[in-house]
């Protein structure tokens, strides 16, 4: 019961923070709202009985990604870049309406199919041992492939920033 109440409170807050992240005029506010949303997501993992995922979510998304975001955003001169209020042109309103329609359709289709998760009954489902075991025993190939893709991404980034005088 208490889990359900907490879930709905978190879910509502999550949607509100993500919405604020989109509509906030100031990029720094957007980034911080996103940080709050990451936190709430990790709280959802806690409710599902997966503390490992919750903590990893905070470490990676809040501790690393968001710091990078803020790092970049702070380099901008926010006073000069357009922090003017958003003008509601017809196209903007149209896109909002379209988004709402898509959301409603998605909601309608998901109705009855997606139920609120009841929490996993398997003991230690989200524990570090279990995640590690499954990742390295049954999903080793996808896991390694994902890390390989990341490695390629790193090479790509280095290639981009390298000076081109030696080409």
């Amino acid at each position: 019961m208490i889990n359900h109440v907490l879930f709905y409170i978190t879910a509502v807050l999550l949607v509100l923070t993500y919405t604020y992240a989109v509509i906030a005029g100031n990029p720094v506010y957007s980034a911080l709202a996103m940080g709050g949303a990451f936190f709430l997501t990790s709280f959802l993992f806690v409710l599902l009985g997966a503390p490992f995922l919750a903590v990893v979510q905070v470490i990676i998304y809040v501790g690393a990604m968001l710091v990078m975001f803020l790092f970049i955003i702070m380099m901008f001169d926010l006073n000069r870049s357009s922090s003017a209020p958003v003008k509601y042109k017809p196209s903007t309103i149209f896109s909002y309406v379209l988004t709402m329609i898509i959301l409603l359709v998605a909601f309608y289709m998901a109705r009855g199919v997606v139920k609120m998760p009841e929490g996993f009954t398997v003991v230690g489902f989200g524990s570090a041992e279990n995640v590690g075991f499954n990742l390295l025993r049954y999903y080793l190939l996808p896991f390694e492939l994902a890390s390989f893709i990341l490695l390629v991404g790193v090479f790509g980034a280095i290639t981009f920033i390298k000076k081109r005088d030696r080409v």
């Binding site: 720094v28 940080g35 503390p51 903590v55 905070v58 470490i59 501790g63 803020l70 702070m74 570090a128």
Partner: protein, 359 residues
């Protein structure tokens, strides 16, 4: 059914730990000044009370009385929130640090640890990574170039050294096989070759060095206090801050130092372990057993933890007044080109030694 007495005990314990951390922070500021004075052959603050012991109280009063200045063009909301973001995570991290083993009291087992969370060490990483936001946001919201540069420096520094710290801790996790800090401390009491306690520093010497250096960088202390380098950046990220807001940043830094010391002690120096001390007393192989009361054992363990943490706090001060500051390119080079490869090497060596059943 909720056991209200247990809840009451742990609530009391968390309040107690909170107060103790604040007290330690207060006296650490005094200790820093006295130790620096001792190292530079001065006297240091010794006017307020006996040996200057009431100096922190005087400092606190002064902080409260000072005018709280907010720069004109600063972002008011974030400027106010930033000091809170700096101090709250610093206070939260101590929740999973065990400061003693179990205490048996009237048929009740009390963990001398606020929360025995089953991902304890990752929790510390997660919460510690939020502490950085206070610094970045504070630096940006002040609308001051020095502050902004301080914030940016700390962001890049934090990200680079978090990796090497994580790599060093992986070695510890491989050896002790648990994410719970209490288990890690407990397993360090087992004996190696039936003689030497398996303390982290003996099992993981390379990991310890990597961890120690990274922790200094993570807490923004000399030789890695680039975010607040006076000679280049005036006051760094807290240039514009005054009064209690500045005090919060200050207290956050010192609270981080306490957690860092506790972490070094727990991961590498046995935490609350005293060599050969078990729940029933000292057990020394081939020599015999000295029986002790359980409560006495608990007190000795807590004292041992306090002494270890105290030593590392002193070590922080010692290093600060001994070493010069790094240059920023040296700092990043050390992080990425030395510590991270060493951390990976440590993992490989540890894996090999575990396969050979040496540790």
């Amino acid at each position: 059914m909720v056991d209200y007495i247990t809840v009451a005990i742990y609530t009391l314990m968390s309040v107690l730990v909170f107060v103790l951390i604040l007290m330690t922070v207060a006296f650490l500021t005094l200790a820093e000044r006295r130790v620096s004075a001792f190292m530079q052959d001065r006297l240091g603050p010794n006017r307020v009370g006996p040996w200057g012991l009431f100096q922190p109280v005087a400092d606190g009063l002064k902080f409260i009385m000072k005018e709280d200045v907010t720069p004109l063009e600063a972002n008011k909301v974030l400027y106010t929130v930033a000091p809170l973001l700096a101090i709250i995570p610093a206070m939260l991290t101590f929740a999973v640090v065990p400061f003693g083993h179990d205490l048996f009291l009237h048929g009740r087992v009390i963990n001398l640890q606020i929360a025995n969370f089953n991902v304890g060490i990752l929790y510390i990483f997660a919460i510690a990574s939020m502490g950085i936001f206070g610094i970045i946001i504070g630096g940006w919201a002040s609308n001051n170039k020095y502050s902004l540069l301080g914030g940016l420096r700390s962001a890049s520094q934090f990200i680079s050294y978090e990796i090497s710290m994580g790599l060093a801790v992986i070695g510890i996790l491989m050896v002790y096989g648990s994410l719970k800090l209490n288990d890690i401390a407990l397993y360090q009491g087992s004996l190696w070759f039936n003689a030497v306690p398996k303390w982290g520093v003996l099992v993981q010497p390379l990991g310890f060095i990597v961890f120690l250096v990274s922790v200094f960088a993570e807490t923004n202390r000399v030789p890695f206090d680039l975010p607040e380098a006076e000679s280049e950046l005036v006051g760094g990220y807290h240039t514009e801050y005054s009064s209690m807001k500045f005090a919060f940043f200050f207290m956050g830094e010192y609270a981080n130092m306490i957690t860092a010391s506790a972490l070094i002690a727990t991961l590498y120096f046995g935490g609350w372990q005293v060599p050969y001390l078990h729940n029933i007393g000292f057990i020394i192989p081939k020599l015999g057993i000295v029986h002790l009361q359980q409560w006495l054992v608990a007190i000795i363990e807590v004292l041992s933890f306090v002494v270890k943490v105290g030593f590392f706090l002193f070590f922080f001060l010692w290093v600060r007044w001994t070493l010069p500051r790094f240059r920023f390119d040296q700092l990043t080079a050390l992080g990425w080109k030395v510590l991270i490869p060493l951390g990976i090497l440590n993992i490989v060596i540890t894996g090999a030694l575990i396969m050979l059943r040496i540790i």
